[in-house]
């Protein structure tokens, strides 16, 4: 560790000590203003989460697909329903050729490796997230025409896809490329967003990824005269490919 890094570490430790010292008085101040002693045990929270009628609400698998696709379409995304991963390979390679995509980046996941996009697109350069310590992966993603990711979950009612980060799954891959391809195995498509959210509660703090992202369509803004613009910062073209 260099001197500067050492010094920085020390400063962080000092700040941490100051913060811990302040914490007690900050919380005591809250309790005092609420005119009662500090609450240190978890209070009963019977009205946690959505109302019961909502938790009971469930769409059939076919309804979920239909609902997801119509939602995705309505916000300017492109949904497609595909029979299997072979159809996914064909879909992505066709689109890449059609749009002239030269640079692709994908997450480092077995399902995506099995697609063998490298073989299917010999003229394109396909990068696999975080497989080489010397590559600046954020910049690589920013250069990419296509980003290809697997959905961890999807929710039909709002048309939302959940992607979780890990060493093999970059946050940049679903954010920086011009076009985003999200593959949703039909078994991961739930009715409501509450279902993936409950999974995060179940996983617990220690097992959460640094980034859990819920994506519901292309990047958009209406900040200029209420005129809708697509692709302001994130991908403007987003495909949701439901498989199975």
């Amino acid at each position: 560790m260099g001197d500067a890094a050492q010094e920085h570490r020390q400063w962080l430790e000092q700040m941490e000590a100051a913060s811990r010292a302040k914490q007690a008085s900050f919380m005591d101040g809250i309790a005092r203003k609420l005119k009662r002693p500090r609450v240190t045990e978890a209070p009963a929270h019977p009205l946690r989460g959505a109302p019961d009628f909502w938790n009971a609400f469930e769409l059939t698998p076919e309804e979920r697909i239909e609902k997801f696709m119509s939602n995705w379409q309505s916000v300017g995304g492109h949904p497609a329903r595909l029979a299997d991963m072979d159809a996914v390979r064909k879909f992505i390679t066709d689109k890449a050729k059609e749009m002239g995509a030269h640079y692709l980046i994908r997450q480092n996941e077995p399902e995506l490796a099995a697609l063998d996009l490298e073989g299917a697109l010999p003229e394109a350069e396909v990068s696999v997230w975080n497989t080489d310590a010397d590559v600046h992966w954020k910049a690589r993603s920013a250069e990419a025409d296509f980003g290809v990711v697997m959905a961890d979950y999807a929710a039909a009612y709002t048309g939302t896809v959940t992607v979780l980060s890990s060493k093999d799954k970059g946050r940049s891959v679903s954010l920086l490329p011009t076009v985003l391809m999200i593959i949703i195995p039909v078994g991961r498509l739930k009715t409501k967003m509450g279902e993936p959210l409950a999974e995060l509660d179940r996983a617990g703090r220690e097992n959460l990824p640094a980034g859990a992202h819920f994506i519901s369509g292309p990047s958009r803004s209406s900040d200029i005269e209420n005129d809708l613009t697509i692709g302001v910062h994130g991908p403007g073209i987003v495909y949701a490919l439901i498989v199975g």
């Binding site: 400063w11 302040k22 914490q23 900050f26 919380m27 101040g29 809250i30 309790a31 203003k33 609420l34 609450v39 240190t40 045990e41 978890a42 209070p43 009205l47 946690r48 916000v75 975080n130 992966w137 954020k138 910049a139 993603s141 920013a142 709002t158 048309g159 980060s165 890990s166 060493k167 970059g170 946050r171 940049s172 954010l175 509450g194 959210l197 409950a198 995060l200 509660d201 703090r205 959460l208 990824p209 640094a210 980034g211 859990a212 819920f214 994506i215 519901s216 292309p218 990047s219 958009r220 803004s221 209406s222 200029i224 005269e225 209420n226 005129d227 613009t229 692709g231 302001v232 910062h233």
Partner: protein, 507 residues
């Protein structure tokens, strides 16, 4: 923050706004779009009042146990590797943020939308130490280039047209850009991409913080908040101390209420839950993450039965869009960081400085549209009255009005004096009535009669005519049907508990 960020009174600023035709039309158009979007989205979703009530209950519960949940959040965030800081005041928060920037030898900070940062005037402070702060939300970026402040919580550049925006962006581009939304947004995308990849620090606000996991949650449509939390090596998050909710399941309720109330969307395009800095082997996300928990007047609402619910606010802006006053005068007329009904209450409440309360609280007709629109049912229309009362109680009321109200009490506390006052009106109006109406713009009628004709008083008041009328009514009174009698008896019997308002409860 100060109530005096803008010159003059609310009334003076409102007059300026009322005379700005473009501003009025733009604000009206935007708020109508958002308001209708919200109405449709909440109707389409259904059971809206049950969702509102659930949202309110979750917020009430969290704030009532804020010491527990905030502490839990802090412990969990630390366990995730976050550096947590506490700031009692805006100045403390600024100091901590600047210190981090200095330590990191930062040249550039990219920011995503944060009302807390506006509240602290942080950009200005960063510039003061030579750090360039770049707003990356499209609307915020435009406002920053213009050197202005946001006029709406959700659509900050509501008051700018595309030609003004094209001029601002052309200056940055060094070439003339066409006043076309796609061209302008495309330019900003390209320009800010470089900034995202080069910036030393990413700075964000925080929509919700999950106590049980130490995660912070951001809602957005553009993707800039994701950029800010993914690309720079250091992340600083400014968080109001009340942003907490217990769990991700509770987040489902907030995610149901917030986007629908703000823009009428089923969901914003992105919702991100960030749990600590990047894991050791991750190839993106910040190496170092700071969360600054800001009080700055918020805790003053705790334990105040009339204002504690202010802390339930989820900053959706629905009250602005519903407010007829906001629609006519726009955000800048309010003179503080927060505008519209929530701003009219929050600004003085956070400041707790009676003398500076200005006349913000008077800029409301108390129509209750804000309450009706609020996804967590904050009774803003009642709070405005409490503010007015506190101002009077502290002796900061208007002297003339105070004297008038003493007279009011004397007259209204006694029917004889009330009768005499009515009589005086009947006599006095003879001086000003023309053609059955009063049009004079002198004295107290000036403001009223600049837009209206005041009706003249009839020859007899109701109480003067009642005896004669009653005589006639008694003579022709129909016999009451047994059905109606039964209904009336049932109504009296079913009143039950006092305060239930005879089955017509107070919203």
């Amino acid at each position: 923050m100060s109530a005096k960020t803008a010159a003059g009174t609310v009334k003076e600023r409102a007059e300026l706004a009322l005379n700005d035709e473009f501003l009025r039309k733009a604000v009206k158009f935007t708020t109508e779009r958002l308001r209708n979007g919200k109405k449709n989205a909440s109707a389409e979703h259904g059971n809206w009042d049950e969702w509102r009530e659930r949202g309110r209950q979750i917020r009430l519960h969290t704030i009532a146990h804020l010491d527990y949940y905030l502490n839990l959040f802090v412990e969990n965030a630390r366990a995730n590797g976050v550096h947590v800081h506490f700031a009692d005041t805006g100045a403390d928060a600024v100091k901590i943020a600047l210190e981090v920037a200095r330590r990191k030898q930062a040249k550039t900070v990219v920011k995503s939308k944060s009302m807390v940062s506006e509240e602290l005037h942080l950009n200005h402070a960063l510039e003061g130490i030579g750090v360039e702060a770049i707003e990356t939300d499209l609307g915020e970026y435009i406002i920053q280039l213009a050197g202005e402040t946001p006029s709406h919580i959700v659509i900050p550049a509501i008051h700018k047209n595309r030609y003004q925006i094209a001029d601002l962006l052309s200056e940055v581009a060094g070439e003339k850009l066409e006043a076309d939304t796609t061209v302008l947004a495309g330019f900003v995308r390209k320009k800010l991409r470089e900034n995202f990849l080069e910036a030393d620090i990413g700075m964000t606000g925080c929509n919700f913080a999950i106590a049980e996991t130490g995660s912070m949650v951001l809602f957005e449509n553009e993707g800039n908040a994701r950029m800010v939390t993914t690309l720079p090596k250091t992340q600083i998050t400014l968080m109001g101390m009340e942003r907490i909710i217990p769990s991700f399941r509770d987040l489902e309720v907030m995610a149901t209420l917030l986007p629908r109330s703000a823009t009428g969307q089923r969901m914003t395009m992105y919702m991100s839950a960030i749990t600590g800095p990047r894991r050791t082997e991750d190839a993106d996300g910040p190496d170092e993450m700071h969360i600054i928990i800001v009080d700055n007047g918020r805790s003053l609402q705790l334990g105040d039965p009339e204002f504690q619910e202010l802390l339930n606010c989820i900053r959706c802006g629905a009250c602005l869009n519903a407010c007829p006053v906001y629609r006519h005068i726009g955000g800048h007329a309010y003179g503080g960081t927060y505008s519209g009904p929530i701003g009219a209450v929050l600004t003085p409440a956070l400041n707790k400085n009676v003398a500076e309360w200005d006349d913000i609280a008077n800029a409301s007709s108390l129509c209750g549209a804000c309450y009706e629109a609020c996804p967590v049912k904050i009774p803003l229309h009642d709070m405005l009255i409490y503010l007015r009362r506190r101002k009077v109680e502290k002796g900061h009321g208007n002297k003339l009005e105070g004297a008038g109200m003493k007279g009011f009490a004397a007259v209204m506390g006694n029917a004889k004096r009330f009768r005499a006052a009515l009589k005086m009106g009947q006599l006095g109006q003879k001086l000003v009535v023309r053609d059955g109406g009063i049009r004079t713009k002198l004295g107290p009628l000036k403001g009223w009669n600049s837009y209206r004709v005041t009706p003249s008083l009839p020859k007899h008041t109701f109480r003067q005519s009642f005896a004669t009328l009653d005589q006639e009514i008694r003579e022709g009174l129909k016999e009451m049907s047994p059905d109606i009698r039964a209904r009336m008896e049932a109504a009296v019997k079913n009143r039950g508990n006092a305060g239930q308002g005879g089955g017509h409860g107070h919203g």
